[in-house]
């Protein structure tokens, strides 16, 4: 049994461009970026990999001890979960994603612990001007005087 993670859709949207992941939490207005090993970890999450497989994937790409990579993976997964970007599911891991880089003979890269860059400058916009989708409860309008003073 391994812990598997899912992207917290639909509140979280993300795009990978030139190896960097941009993530946006539509609920909070916070956006994030992940590079290098962080982007590789995100790609593995998207492909349904569990924690152990993510660590194995990073070990195949980066030059570092097993413990160093495992600790870094655990830390970043916990942070992604804390930020509400992923949800943990207990269960079988999905199929292994891409074949490990070491399998096709590519040289491994120096490892740096992945960092989740967090940007909160859009939060003010959400707090100042939130958008409420109107459902069956209807539209708000000022209460008549008798209710307003109730």
């Amino acid at each position: 049994m391994t812990t598997r993670f899912r992207v917290n859709s639909p509140n979280v949207i993300h795009e990978t461009i030139e190896g960097e992941v941009i993530l946006i939490d539509l609920k909070t207005g916070t956006y994030y970026s992940l590079r290098d090993a962080g982007a590789a970890l995100w790609q593995a999450i998207e492909q349904g990999a569990g924690e152990d497989e993510i660590a194995a994937e990073l070990r195949s790409r980066y030059e570092a001890s097993e413990t160093e990579i495992q600790d870094a993976v655990r830390r970043l997964l916990a942070e992604l979960e804390r930020e509400g970007l992923v949800r943990a599911d207990e269960g079988e891991a999905g199929p292994a994603a891409a074949p490990p880089a070491s399998d096709n003979g590519a040289a491994r890269l120096p490892f740096a612990a992945p960092v989740l860059e967090k940007h909160t400058d859009m939060q003010d916009l959400i707090l100042l001007d939130p958008v409420h989708e109107v459902g069956a409860e209807g539209w708000p309008h000022p209460a008549p005087p008798d209710e307003a003073t109730a």
Partner: protein, 338 residues
């Protein structure tokens, strides 16, 4: 605040009746014909007072009436003088049977679009009581929905360039977009397409379409842009940004659009002269997407993927801004020459 609710947004028939009655009371409808993103758009104001308040931002797009409009907007107020919005606040959005409605209680504005009928309605308490961010970019939400229907997107960014091509200036408020956009008025070779919101087409070669010729800068930054001081619009409140209508103050210096050649991320530095350096596409996406998405009502979930597609198609530059604003146009021209 205590609130009660009504079951539905105003009906389209009621809005049209209200507009017609308001137009009659105001001495008749005043029509403004535009070519927006190359399409004929008619804005019908109920009376000259409403037209006077909200037309200047579109002065560069005015056109002769050309066939049946691709969009007709009906715009009126209730003459509730002294009704001034005090700030931003929550918005309420609904979409039913293809009719999109937004109510912004702090300014009292209702925006309604029936895209299939190519018709919209915009009601405000007082045409001269809107906050500066609304009267410099009128009908922004209505137009963003209509642009969606035209397979165009409204993005948060400035745009400047020439007939042959231009750049999209992206970044959050305070990053230097407006200063950079308005600096082009120092150089006859460059044209102005906007400092805050423009439309972008998703064709193989992306095209920028100007929406507004207005510009805004913090009053405290005006000393860096002395060429704009004679162009200040009248009636701006001292606690608001300084407002300019480029077509009015600098006739012929605004432009309806151009092919997009690059995305530029301005960055304030302690340099003297501005300098453009290559940037990454991820930088462009991070500067463009969050502020665009959170200013659309409702936030568009598919907009991030669309904008990622856009930044993949053109190069990105970081424009390091210096203390000397006069050096910005040359740095922009060097980007366009590449």
């Amino acid at each position: 605040m205590s609130r009660t609710v009504t079951p539905e947004a105003p009906s389209v028939d009621r809005l049209q009746n209200d507009f017609e009655r308001a137009a009659e009371a105001a001495g008749g409808a005043v029509d403004l014909h535009l070519a927006l993103a190359g399409k004929p758009v008619r804005i019908r104001f109920a009376g000259a007072r409403a037209a006077e308040a909200l037309s200047p931002a579109f002065a560069h797009l005015e056109a002769q009436q050309d066939g049946s409009p691709a969009l007709t907007l009906h715009v009126w107020d209730s003459g509730l003088r002294g009704t001034e919005a005090t700030g931003a606040g929550a918005s309420y959005y609904s979409e039913q049977d293809g009719v999109r409605t937004l109510h912004q209680p702090t300014s009292g504005v209702f925006s309604v679009l029936d895209a299939d009928a190519e018709t919209g309605w915009f009601w405000m308490p007082d045409a001269h009581g809107l906050p500066y961010w609304d009267y410099t970019a009128p009908f922004r939400h209505l137009l963003s929905w209509w642009l969606d229907a035209q397979r165009l997107r409204q993005v948060h960014g400035g745009a400047v360039g020439t007939e042959d091509g231009g750049v999209l200036l992206v970044g959050p408020g305070g990053s230097g977009k407006s200063t950079t956009s308005l600096s082009v008025l120092l150089d006859e070779r460059l044209r102005y397409a906007g400092d805050d919101y423009v439309a972008v087409g998703s064709a193989h070669v992306p095209v920028v379409h100007s929406i507004y010729c207005s510009g805004k800068v913090h009053q405290g930054d005006l000393h860096r842009l002395p060429h704009l001081e004679p162009a200040l619009a009248d009636g701006v409140r001292p606690d608001e940004k300084a407002v300019f209508y480029v077509e009015r103050a600098f006739p012929g210096r605004s432009i309806a659009g151009f092919p997009l050649r690059a995305i530029v991320v301005p960055r304030v530095t302690d340099r003297r002269a501005a300098r453009a350096v290559p940037g990454t596409r991820a930088e462009a996406l991070a500067a463009l997407a969050p502020s665009t998405i959170f200013q659309l009502h409702p936030p568009a979930r598919d907009a991030l993927a669309w904008m990622a597609g856009l930044v993949r198609r053109v190069p990105t530059f970081v424009l390091e801004l210096g203390s000397d604003v006069e050096t910005i146009p040359a740095a922009l021209l060097r980007i366009l020459e590449q």
